[in-house]
Amino acid sequence: MDLKKTHIYEYHAEHGNVIDFGGYAMPVWYDGIQSEHKAVRESCGIFDTCHMGRTWATGPDVERFLNYIVTNNLATLEERGGLYTVMCKPTGGIVDDLILYKINDEKYWVVYNAGNREKDFKWLKKNSKDFKVKLEDVSDTVAMIAVQGPKAIDVMQKITEEKLDEVARFTVADLTISGLKVMAARTGYTGEDGFEIYVPDCSLDKPADALKIWNDLIAAGATPCGLGARDSLRLEAGLWLYGNDIDESINPLEAGLRWTVKLKKPSYFKGQRAIQKMKDDGVQKTLIGIMMDERGIPRHGYPILNMEEEEIGVVTSGGHSPTLGVGIAMAFVPPEYKKKGTELYVQVRKRNLKGKVVKHRPFYDDSVYGWKRDK
């Protein structure tokens, strides 16, 4: 099967270690996962995120429609504001997590996961029938680049006309980068400060604008980063990976996403009854963070055992934390094990290795790392 190529593919082919990532030819790393990870925690890294899903939702009913399809409440959102949310099946299972940006009352920018591009667009389309809404999937004609790290703003400022300090966290702005008119949101998937840049009118066969911004960012001091570092960074930040930590069998209350569910919002939303029932009945499992006390790397699918060595859960995401130098994991366990400091075993190739439940959003000390760090 031919792999799909993103706008930045030309650069990956020359400099990166390219793999098949869900049908896309994407770099796992350029120089190495750990050095790229470090660049983002300490300075500035950039990521090709053109494989993600991007849709324009417009029309007189757009707010009513989005409020029906997502669990969070758009009512609090001001123009230019962004909102992280999930959308759920009637069962309460998570279709995807996504970010909505309000351009105005009748125009929203919707950004969702690469692996769910077709599924999400179909889901939105199918559920929009009773609303005056137009949905336009522009994933292949709007390029997307993430700039992340404590120096992300400094690096980006070198090639941006507007003052980036004036763009608030989790808002979207129109900017001029490399002389090109783009849109950019102050957010990301690494725990660090930075932007996601959206380059309009940039088709896959004419990717020059996206490549120009990409190369200008590198010239300005950014380190190109692959999917390996993207995964290790988001894991340290305790951010969910769809397909690992959340999917259609998982309810947002189980996944620590209760804060994205507004059960009291005035109008009905998809999945509301199932989520309300789960809230009333109580959850059977909950997503926790584990830090290893013993040497060893927990990975997706490894069993979790209690101190009596009974199997109680499973690792959803795990790996070596380059920042902390130990193995860390997210895992589903029954709620009685969620208390910080609880000792558990992770079964790593038949050996039971000790770990502890820790605060995991993020795993690191957020006064030292991440966008909230002390300046």
Partner: protein, 133 residues
């Protein structure tokens, strides 16, 4: 592609990219080769074989892990584990920088050496094998 990798002479190789080398004292040093370390990239953890355990050729006796992947270590020869390279616990990247030297994983007191070696490839055969991958 074979010429991208360092293949030491006087060392025996497995299809799974482990190596075995006879030492002067009759023991056999074992490890993973340059191809394996290159494929794994950035090794961050090594699970060493158990000291004094008896292993059979091709037994999964340990593991080598990079940030992204886990690779079982299949012991290339049968025998008793008489030494393990504990340096790798703190510096697993020695396998990346010197897979046939400081990156050795264990030393084995062989129990069936000649027959085991007949199942492995010498440098010339291994060079040819890598060309097929």
């Amino acid at each position: 592609m074979a010429d991208e990798y360092k293949i030491d002479e006087g060392v025996y190789y497995t299809k799974e990219h482990e190596w075995a080398k006879k030492l002067e004292d009759g023991m056999v040093a074992v490890g993973v080769d340059d191809y394996a370390q290159s494929q794994l990239h950035e090794i961050v953890y090594v699970e060493l074989p158990e000291m004094n355990s008896e292993v059979a050729q091709a037994d999964a006796a340990g593991a080598v892990e990079s940030v992204k992947a886990v690779s079982d270590f299949y012991c290339p020869v049968s025998g008793k584990v008489v030494a393990v390279n504990e340096e790798l616990l703190d510096s697993p990247d020695k396998i990346n920088t010197d897979p046939y030297g400081e990156g050795w994983i264990a030393k084995i007191e062989p129990s069936n050496l000649e027959a085991d070696l007949a199942n492995l490839m010498d440098a010339a055969a291994y060079t040819e094998y890598l060309k097929t991958l």
